[in-house]
Subunit: 435 residues, 2 copies
């Protein structure tokens, strides 16, 4: 029996693993139905979900108010409370995002490649849904809706495991979306909240081999590491970004300063912000005084090597000596590590040693330096004369993203709808057998 | 210092994990060099490796004779000894396969997609090597050379861990290939045998996070499961194939028999051989007597459900009652499970329950049945009126394969050179910053 509303919480007596696996089994049944849902049906569902969320505004805001009150009572920081808080306007924005997903092309059924083989067999590689996707994430309730919308559009059932601080909000959002699915004749179990909010429920989700096709963790480095090392189902690692800006000898100083400031300070709490500045020795004298003054203006603390500390003398910029740990740190704050390198090769060696493979940027007027940097850096994205902040599904024109993959398998960089599919080879013959 | 020849075996006193990690670190250095090697250089290396192997025939055959003698003394089965045995002719064939890989296009540098973004940024997604690939495999020495050739062509360094029974042969092959690499100016450490032949060395390889980008197990189900569940580095699961042939109500009986025989009996020890026959009830009476007689002729033992057992009466075909375990078994032998289903939907439900997601075939003259089967089956390959045996990199025109992936992430189905790469987004601007 399909339950319209999210099943009640798992009580202390029940086995959380069994409850999670039962939810995953229901998701698999729903996924088999979603595989062949047409784009028309899926887009109607997304629009019905958007309408349903707006109609459910009072219930969602009431549930959210309870979450917020509990978070405040527990002494949660104002920044985190703000991320948790929904308003009618924010909810309308979240609903609009679902309509935007409906406007995107359907990745399912796309022919990736194909050919007629010498023996006459027709070979076609075609995109199909993955099946069941689990998403483990932190406070923001908008992820609940974003992830459900992207999974549905790509033909996948989704198991949502948000943080316990947003539990009431997430369940209200999920209930509204499930009701909308039923309204267009799709299975409600295509969108489910993972039952239980203990660690055991996360563990059950990430070890459900044969039931869950992919888990995507979204959140801080601790959450991601816990999921990646604890999972036995396939995982895509997202969002760890120790990004570098390398200012080449042949850079335009004004351009380099603008790209540095944008990469570091336009928004500090994101994975595509820059955490380290590397400067070619040949331009350090011209670039560093201007750059350090500009960073000081933006209240950025520079963790500099000896050459940077020396260049800071008399500029009034706040430079503290860099440590080995700084080169490895993703600050998520108005801090940046900075050093002078003797050559582009030394910059590449530094990046190979300390980078996380997210985004690396070079500022240069030299085609040869640009080509060497692109060839030498092993990362999801390489920027030439552009801010690291551009590594983003929306900026890349993918319309939406489930996360930014920093691993090399399956998806690397912003993961859009295409990356939420796999493929099948369809081979059509007329009685063909192998000789 | 780069060693020309494979370093000596790890002695009991040394730490096998440290030795494997040191080899992986050398592979990473080599991989950085291979990233930007041109196709011309890589193809020259492949041809030099082929020539080097032929030139090393006496040394390789001597080493192989030692492996074979030890295997025979240990009572190894003649079939396994045959797989282990090299001859001058077999070695020439292995060398020729390297020249064939040289003739394939280079996957590195292929532009996967690209566009000019609204703000003028030029976005290009381009294929790049994965980095360091580990291969864990069983007796056949040809895998040593095949895997090295495919890795090199796709710009990756490779760590080869064959079974201990082929240790001497593999080292002789690796030594010849390393010498050839040096001869064309590429790092010898691009091709290495994993030091040590204990289980600890496999464990060190598959848990070398940050040093190894991908491990591909090639061998029996036990080997694959051990690697998949023990690994913390990314793995691609290969080669488990519980493949079904479904004979639809609208099938041509002669075509169905031919496809069934080819799928089951053309070669039994491979993952794309059929292990289960499902027959629509509407054609069972016409099809089963012919099919069972033909299977009997090929000495196939049929494990049948009640309807199949009844149909066998008087045909002289060897039918034994099927068990639940039979439906799950990959026989690798002249055995097949067989059952009658009431409908195509029942066939799909059976396949969803027992299939391994490798290859599923339908024989039908009905476009509607073919479409429903293709839409309803979740597998790497779906055959319409063709033998399951066609799921193969060579047959698909990929030229060569490192294995057949039965997982959904990254690669599904035959893995050619393309699947041994990842991508980087290259973004070129002119001082672009995010507003």
């Amino acid at each position: 029996m399909t339950l319209l509303h999210t099943p009640p919480e798992v009580s202390g007596q029940e086995d959380p693993t069994a409850a999670v696996h039962a939810a995953a089994a229901r998701a698999r049944v729903a996924a088999r139905e979603l595989r062949s849902a047409t784009r028309t049906t899926k887009d109607a569902a997304l629009r019905a979900m958007a309408d349903g969320l707006v109609a459910a505004t009072p219930a969602v805001l009431a549930a959210n108010a309870d979450d917020v009150a509990l978070a405040q009572a527990a002494g949660t920081s104002p920044a985190l409370v703000d991320r948790l808080t929904l308003t009618a306007q924010r909810l309308a924005g979240i609903a609009q995002a679902l309509r935007d997903v409906a406007d995107l092309p359907d990745p399912v059924g796309e022919v990736v490649r194909g050919s007629r083989l010498p023996n006459g067999l027709q070979l076609t590689q075609v995109r199909v849904p993955l099946g069941v996707i689990g998403v483990v994430y932190e406070a923001r309730p908008n992820v609940t809706v974003d992830a459900a919308g992207l999974a549905l559009k790509s033909g996948n059932a989704v198991l949502l495991r948000g943080s316990s601080s947003g539990r009431r909000s997430n369940r209200a959002l999920v209930d509204a979306m499930r009701e909308a699915l039923l309204g267009v004749g799709l299975p409600a179990d295509a969108v489910q909240a993972v039952p239980g909010d203990t660690h055991a429920s996360v563990q059950a989700l990430i070890t459900a081999r044969g039931l869950v096709d992919l888990v995507v963790p979204r959140g801080g480095a601790d959450l991601i590491q816990a999921v990646v090392t604890g999972a036995t189902v396939p995982v895509i690692e997202t969002g760890v970004g120790n990004c570098h800006v390398y200012v080449d000898e042949a850079a335009d100083v004004d351009m380099a300063v603008a790209i540095l400031l944008n990469s570091k300070a336009q928004r500090v709490s994101v994975c595509n912000a820059a955490e380290t500045l590397l400067v070619h020795a040949g331009i350090a004298e011209a670039f560093l005084p201007v750059a350090l003054a500009a960073l000081a203006q933006e209240e950025v603390t520079v963790h500099g090597d000896a050459a940077v500390v020396a260049a800071a003398a008399g500029t009034g910029a706040g430079v503290v000596p860099v440590t080995e740990a700084d080169w490895l740190t993703e600050y998520y704050s108005l801090d940046i590590a900075a050093g002078v390198v003797a050559s582009l090769d030394d910059a590449l060696a530094h990046i190979a040693r300390y980078g996380s493979g997210h985004t690396e940027a070079i500022v240069t007027g030299s085609t040869r330096a640009a080509a060497a940097f692109v060839a030498g850096v092993d990362a999801a994205a390489v920027m030439v004369n552009a801010s690291t902040r551009f590594t983003d599904g929306g900026e890349f024109g993918f319309g939406a993203e489930i996360g930014i993959s920093t691993q090399k398998l399956h998806a690397r960089g912003p993961m859009g709808l295409t990356e939420m599919t796999t493929t099948t080879y369809v081979v059509v013959g007329d009685g063909h057998v192998r000789p």
